[in-house]
């Protein structure tokens, strides 16, 4: 396979939206059989550029060539017919249909009998089976997609892209919802695809991944091209400084806070009311401590934290907070006690899309401490609301045109900052962060880390669920690891290492699988 042959060439692409120039003369050349990483901070224009390549946007200027032929895509379908496929950051499979129907949706194989097109189930099954086998994906084509976990959904999307005979596959943050083991499988598939001459455009914020798997790296900043380099010439330091346009000395702020001996949160033998969720979990959290929660996807970490916060039912066990036994029935109770929870699913349980930055920022505080805004009267003090929102926009350096902008028009990282502001505004004693930096660029990440450090110094306590090992190890004073709903261990100080955490995170998996196998 001729690796030097450019399969996708984008030249001088510009694209404007009302009020903002999202892309300014950006060029990108992707060669067959290579992995081309596309990097940049949130809002740098990566997604916009890819949407131009995939026919979702029409560039104002510039040309796109596929295999040397100039093209102008009408829509995504047109792009796919030209061999360009895109796997979006947020997947939307049809959950109530099975794997093979999802793969062939819109082009179901059929047999024509008596002038009527009948679905050819057998061909569909065999084709799907062959496709999945080729990719090394162990999935039954008849599995209902709703029962698949995040990583299998991702694999399903990749299989679908391959089934279109794609020459270029765009992957937008494919590993953001995958655990390390699952990511390994993805890399294997990527390797297999590139060996066959497929080009991969890989968007990610995870630099170790990019250095490992990519051949070339293109970096963007503020809608402009910074440059394109062979991955072999790159280092993490170089990439970061080129992305943010300044030197970044460290990935994490220096640890200056000191956890006190005072126990803030004491969880005793907590068991979920839901079957197959967490069982008999106990842990303590001190004032001024950052507790990391590690584990694989499905370890029930989110469920545990949301149960403590009153969002999910508990069957047994006790939660003690500030030395008193609590009886938290809903989020309101938890907030009144001084807890805050930044949830994992930004879209589903975080933002209220059509409401403004101001409305979204004060949402929780205005309900919990209405008097701050009404002074005991009936009407809200609009100035106080705006001031509060402005304070956190400034503090977190959120990029937004105005405070009146609906939050749905902000980039993911900026949405996350607004949501963080929502919880900080409550001035909580305990802040629970569930994957706080998922899908966020390095600059914003560092700002969030600094904020966590500052809060800990002020004697606030933080629980951080994270699937990113460096973050977990870099920020936490102590790490609790969960596996399959059980607490599998705690590590701190000298004991902290990748291997130790990974081992704890998979403690029960093998034994459970063994038990299942024995039953079958």
């Amino acid at each position: 396979m001729d690796k030097a042959r450019p399969v996708l060439e984008m030249t001088g692409i510009s694209k404007s939206f009302p009020g903002v120039k999202a892309l300014d003369q950006v060029s990108l050349t992707v060669r067959a059989g290579t992995v081309h990483a596309l990097m940049g901070e949130n809002g740098a224009g990566k997604s916009t550029l890819m949407k131009c390549a995939f026919g979702l946007y029409h560039p104002d200027e510039g040309t796109i060539k596929v295999d040397g032929q100039e093209v102008s895509f009408v829509d995504a379908r047109d792009a796919m017919d030209h061999g360009i496929s895109m796997i979006h950051q947020e997947l939307h499979p049809i959950r109530t249909r099975n794997v093979m129907e999802n793969i062939w949706v819109g082009r179901t194989p059929y047999k024509k009998v008596a002038g009527v097109k009948w679905v050819d189930e057998k061909k569909m099954y065999n084709d799907t089976k062959a496709l999945l086998d080729k990719l090394g994906v162990k999935l039954d084509p008849r599995t209902m997609v709703g029962t698949l976990n995040a990583s299998n959904c991702q694999l399903l999307e990749i299989a679908r892209a391959v089934s279109y005979g794609a020459k270029v596959i765009i992957m937008d943050e494919p590993t953001s919802s995958l655990t390390e083991i699952e990511a390994e499988l993805l890399f294997k598939i990527i390797k297999q695809l590139t060996d066959e001459g497929v080009a991969i455009i890989y968007i990610s914020h995870k630099m170790d991944e990019i250095l490992r798997i990519s051949d070339e790296v293109t970096i963007m900043r503020d809608g402009k091209l910074v440059g394109c380099w062979p991955a072999s010439e790159m280092t993490q330091q170089l990439m970061v400084s080129r992305m943010v346009g300044r030197e970044m000395t460290s990935q994490f702020p220096e640890k200056q806070h000191k956890p006190s001996d005072e126990v803030l949160l004491d969880v005793k033998n907590l068991t979920s009311a839901v079957k197959r969720s967490f069982v008999d979990v106990s842990f303590q959290l001190h004032r001024g401590e950052i507790l990391g929660i590690g584990g694989l996807v499905g370890a029930q970490r989110t469920e545990l934290m949301e149960s403590i916060f009153g969002l999910r039912p508990i069957a047994s066990g006790e939660v003690w907070f500030k030395g008193e036994k609590t009886n938290i029935k809903c989020a309101q109770d938890a907030i009144q006690l001084g807890m805050a929870l930044l949830t994992e699913e930004r879209r589903a349980t975080g933002i209220v899309p059509m409401l403004s930055i101001t409305d979204n920022t004060v949402l929780a505080n205005q309900t919990a401490h209405t008097k701050q805004y009404t002074g005991g009267g009936f009407f809200l003090n609009e100035k106080k609301r705006v001031d509060d929102a402005q304070k956190y926009v400034d503090l977190l350096s959120t990029k937004t045109p105005t405070l009146k902008t609906a939050i749905q028009y902000l980039s993911g990282g900026n949405q996350q900052k607004v949501l963080l502001g929502r919880w900080l505004l409550l001035n909580p004693d305990l802040l629970i962060l569930d994957e706080p930096t998922r899908g966020i660029d390095v600059g914003a990440k560092y700002e969030i880390y600094c904020l966590m450090e500052k809060m800990a110094q002020e004697g606030k306590s933080i629980i951080m669920i994270s699937s990113e090992m460096p973050e977990l190890m870099g920020m936490s004073d102590r790490i609790m690891v969960m596996c399959e709903g059980h607490k599998s261990g705690e590590v701190q100080g000298e004991e902290v290492s990748d291997e130790r955490i990974m081992m704890l995170a998979s403690t029960y998996i093998d034994s459970e699988n063994a038990a299942k196998a024995a039953k079958a």
């Binding site: 404007s16 009302p18 009020g19 916060f309 969002l311 809903c330 989020a331 309101q332 938890a334 907030i335 009144q336 929870l341 949830t343 589903a348 349980t349 975080g350 933002i351 209220v352 899309p353 059509m354 409401l355 409305d359 004060v362 949402l363 929780a364 205005q366 309900t367 919990a368 209405t370 805004y373 009404t374 009936f378 009407f379 809200l380 609009e382 028009y409 929502r422």
Partner: protein, 333 residues
């Protein structure tokens, strides 16, 4: 900010509702110039007033992301109940023959309270029993109609239209203060109150939040059950008030009152810019949504067109307004 040239297409898309209304008024006025008069304006507003109150109630439910089909039948029930409590002692077919003549406030308050109760029942069924709002309120609609017919058929009334209202009661619907019909004044007061509630109070902000993303609202400590109860409760109270006023306006009441008002109200809300999935909507928008339908009703009759045409034109307007509206949001991406 990039300077944008005046774009006719964009302007039309953003102001579709107003453009359609102006066009209609121009067309009607060309055919019959007398249409442009204070009297016609007053008639249209008076006719719209009860519809406005129903639409305001309905708007709360739509903003919170739910649906309510019980409005029309609630109007009918409130009309009959308030009418039955507001008859003169001398009227030969008095519904409650032994009932003394009550102050006008009694039927009004009773209608509002009955509406409030039914609304809260709706809220409870939707948010506690978890019945989908469309079906829950469809059921309640049937119950209301049945209950209304049973009440209305009570001896000695036996389903005769109610009449013989106290002058103080009828005066609400026909009287005027300083030349402005009382009904219009009441509708304006309701609109102002709703506007203030929605834009200036914590409750209003919480309603928008629940409609915009109920899960996010719940996580942020908003009591979604409470908000749902309140929105349906307010809606019910509005329907109750509107039903009572409908009786005063027409000087009569029967169990068929309010038929399909809920659909007109929903259409007015959506045409007036409310998002059908919740979280978006304004009082002025809904007001114009109501007015445009009444301009059609009144205007087409005014130029002597068959009333059957009104349905056709209304249907076309609903579809067209929403088709244009959808494009408005598409353009933003």
């Amino acid at each position: 900010m990039l300077k944008e040239k005046f774009n006719l297409r964009k302007f039309l898309a953003n102001n579709a509702l107003y453009v359609i209304m102006v066009l209609m008024i121009v067309v009607i006025a060309c055919i019959s110039p007398k249409f442009l008069s204070v009297r016609v304006l007053r008639d249209i507003l008076t006719q719209s007033s009860t519809r406005i109150i129903v639409a305001m109630g309905c708007m709360f439910v739509i903003l919170s992301g739910q649906a309510d089909l019980s409005g029309g039948r609630m109007v009918g029930l409130a009309a009959v109940i308030s009418g039955s409590l507001a008859q003169q002692s001398t009227y030969y077919l008095k519904f409650w023959p032994t009932l003394p003549e009550l102050p006008v406030i009694v039927p009004v308050v009773v209608s509002i309270l009955v509406g409030l109760f039914v609304g809260c029942a709706n809220g409870f069924i939707v948010s506690k029993l978890k019945v989908p709002a469309f079906l829950a309120t469809l059921g309640v609609q049937m119950i209301l109609y049945g209950a209304n017919c049973l009440y209305f058929n009570k001896a000695p009334n036996n389903s005769q239209p109610l009449g013989g209202f106290l002058p103080s009661f009828s005066n609400l619907g026909t009287g005027a203060i300083a030349g402005i019909p009382i009904l219009i004044i009441i509708a304006v007061i309701v609109m102002i109150l709703v506007h203030i509630l929605l834009t200036k109070t914590c409750l209003g902000k919480e309603i928008f939040a629940v409609g915009g993303n109920a899960e996010a609202a719940r996580v942020s400590g908003i009591n979604v059950f409470k908000i749902t109860m309140i929105t349906y409760g307010i809606a019910g109270a509005c329907y109750g008030l509107a039903g009572c006023l409908e009786a005063t306006r027409t000087g009569s009441a029967s169990s068929t009152y309010g038929l399909s008002y809920e659909l007109d109200a929903i259409a007015s809300c959506i045409v007036g810019g409310c998002s059908a999935s919740g979280g978006v909507g304004t009082v002025p928008g809904v007001f114009f949504g109501v007015i445009i339908f009444n301009v059609i009703n009144y205007g087409l009759t005014f130029i002597g067109l068959s009333s059957y045409w009104q349905f056709v034109v209304k249907g076309v307007i609903i579809v067209a307004a929403i088709a244009i509206d959808v494009r408005k949001y598409n353009g933003k991406n």
